[in-house]
Amino acid sequence: MPTERGQDADAEVEGLLALIRERYGDRLTPEQLDGVKKGVEGIVKAARALRAVRLENSDEPMQSFVPYRADP
């Protein structure tokens, strides 16, 4: 499995955690915030695994948009 080069994962976790602390910190206990941090670590790990895969320009998302028109 390729891994993403560069960038410090810990710094990324701390940066993203700061956002969550800003948004929800007033409703989280220190123990809960620790739990959220573990979740962010998992998210960063997954994101770095995704970023490490190189795709072609033609690789489109598997989620197509279909224009809508009500009948008739």
Binding site: P2, K37, G42, I43
Partner: protein
């Protein structure tokens, strides 16, 4: 005659021949739901009034020669995320939603009504189908799902009551849902058959949305054959769910093939308990008697990360009000009070990357599966965990589950059936995963596996 633990197919023969009355059948299973349901924390609501009305109607119709098919007069239970009219609560397993009611039936409920099946209970489930990050069995306001095979063990989730109710003979079949593992887990842990249909095979209209592009509804039954009978009744296009496929589906229960081609992913038993691995090896020996077994590799891709990222983003959006408004603090599992906040850390670019990789994953899975009738693997890497312990979850990133990530991320069908006994006298299982829309192929394989030479 003891009607409990008879497969749907056998019950149907008895009902059609008028040897068993739908009213007597309903009374039998309603009594079991009311008396034994609490033992397993399997039931949210027993729908006695609706059931007796449907059973009496079935009895009249059959007596008049208007037999609708193999589910006519057969009792069943539905996971409590399927909307039901008539004032019956639909709680989604969540304490803050104990009183939630809808004024319509989910399409699956309506289709089962049309098939003459008798809704006897709304069955317990993990709160919000496990979408808020639970890591242990105490995650429903009805209590942890208790395994009929061992009362110290969990029944699995999130379709906890659907698995335990079938295994305990509280209903002949049940409907569950799966976003990632929620049919296969309770079926495997409780030792029954569970079928996860292709994405879009069964309408999601009226079902709680956890992840719009991952949610599937399917049956849990005593046998693979019964899963086919139930799927035929609930499958089909639905204008109310534009993601349903137009491909018609009929259950093909004919034929006894012995020329199956099975693939086994390299390393598929990694992380499995010893008994799971040993029973899977024995299953492969059986499968070699009905076909070929070949080891195969998928290309190296971060499969779990792809499906997990999509799941987390869709669930966070589906329950945005619930999360942002702080209602998650009223859920049962302590970890469900905060775990979802972490999902704000998923960046939009990473989510779109997951969607692009999903297309690659789907193509690669289909390329590999096109050479086989099914990929096989252990249904679960472990037997049901104890009630009082945290478990390792692939969704949480703590356990490998490539087949689950690929199968759910690419919308592929899978069926799980018991294959032996493991630690603490709990069942182990084997799963068959097929190309999209190949439910008949995996059902045939599971049936052939069950009929040992």
């Amino acid at each position: 005659m003891n009607l409990v633990f008879l497969p749907v197919r056998r019950l149907a023969e008895l009902v059609r021949a008028r040897e068993v009355s739908p009213v007597a059948l309903a009374e039998t299973f309603l009594h079991r739901l009311e008396t034994l349901g609490p033992r397993y924390n399997a039931v949210v609501t027993v729908t006695r009034e609706r059931a007796m009305e449907a059973a009496r109607r079935a009895e009249r119709e059959i007596a008049a020669g208007r037999y609708r098919g193999p589910l006519h007069g057969i009792p069943y239970g539905a996971k409590d995320l399927l909307a039901t009219a008539g004032g019956i609560p639909t709680t989604w397993g969540a304490a803050p939603l104990r009183a939630q009611r809808f004024e319509y039936d989910a399409t699956v409920i309506r289709k089962l009504d049309e098939a003459g099946a008798v809704l006897c209970a709304k069955l317990a489930m993990v709160e919000l189908a496990g979408g808020m990050g639970y890591r242990q069995p105490h995650a429903s306001f009805t209590g942890p799902g208790i395994n009929p095979r061992n009362p110290d063990a969990w029944s699995g989730g999130s379709s906890s009551g659907s698995g335990s109710a079938v295994a305990a003979g509280l209903v002949p079949f049940a409907i569950g849902s799966e976003t990632w593992g929620s049919i296969l887990s309770p079926a495997g842990f409780c030792g029954v058959a569970g079928l996860r249909p292709s994405y879009g095979r069964v309408s999601r209209h009226g079902a709680m949305a956890l992840c719009w592009t991952l949610d599937k509804l399917g049956p849990l039954c005593l046998t693979a054959d019964d899963c086919g009978l139930v799927l035929e009744a609930i499958a089909g296009p639905d204008p109310a769910d534009p993601t349903t496929t137009d491909r018609a589906w009929r259950y093909d229960d004919t034929g006894t093939r012995r020329d199956f081609r099975f693939g086994v992913l390299t390393g598929v038993t990694e992380g499995s308990e010893d008994a799971v691995r040993a029973n899977f090896e024995r299953s492969l020996d059986v499968l070699r008697g009905i076909g070929t077994v070949e080891e195969v590799e998928l290309p190296a891709l971060p499969y779990e990360a792809i499906t997990r990222t999509i799941l987390h983003v869709e669930a966070a959006s589906a329950f945005e009000d619930f999360i942002e408004g702080g209602t998650i603090a009223e859920l049962t599992a302590p970890e469900d009070h905060y775990a979802a906040y972490a999902r704000d850390a998923i960046l939009a670019k990473d989510y779109v990357k997951a969607l692009r990789l999903r297309a690659v994953m789907a193509r690669e899975a289909d390329r590999v599966l096109s050479r086989f009738d099914a990929l096989v693997g252990p249904g679960r890497v472990n037997v049901a965990p104890p009630l009082d312990q945290e478990f390792r979850s692939a969704i949480g990133g703590a356990a490998p589950d490539v087949m689950g990530a690929v199968g759910n991320g690419a919308g592929l069908p899978a069926i799980i059936v018991p294959n032996g006994v493991g630690d603490r006298s709990l069942p182990t299982s084997v799963q068959f995963m097929g190309r999209v829309y190949e439910e008949n192929t995996i059902l045939a394989a599971a049936r052939a596996y069950g009929v040992r030479p």
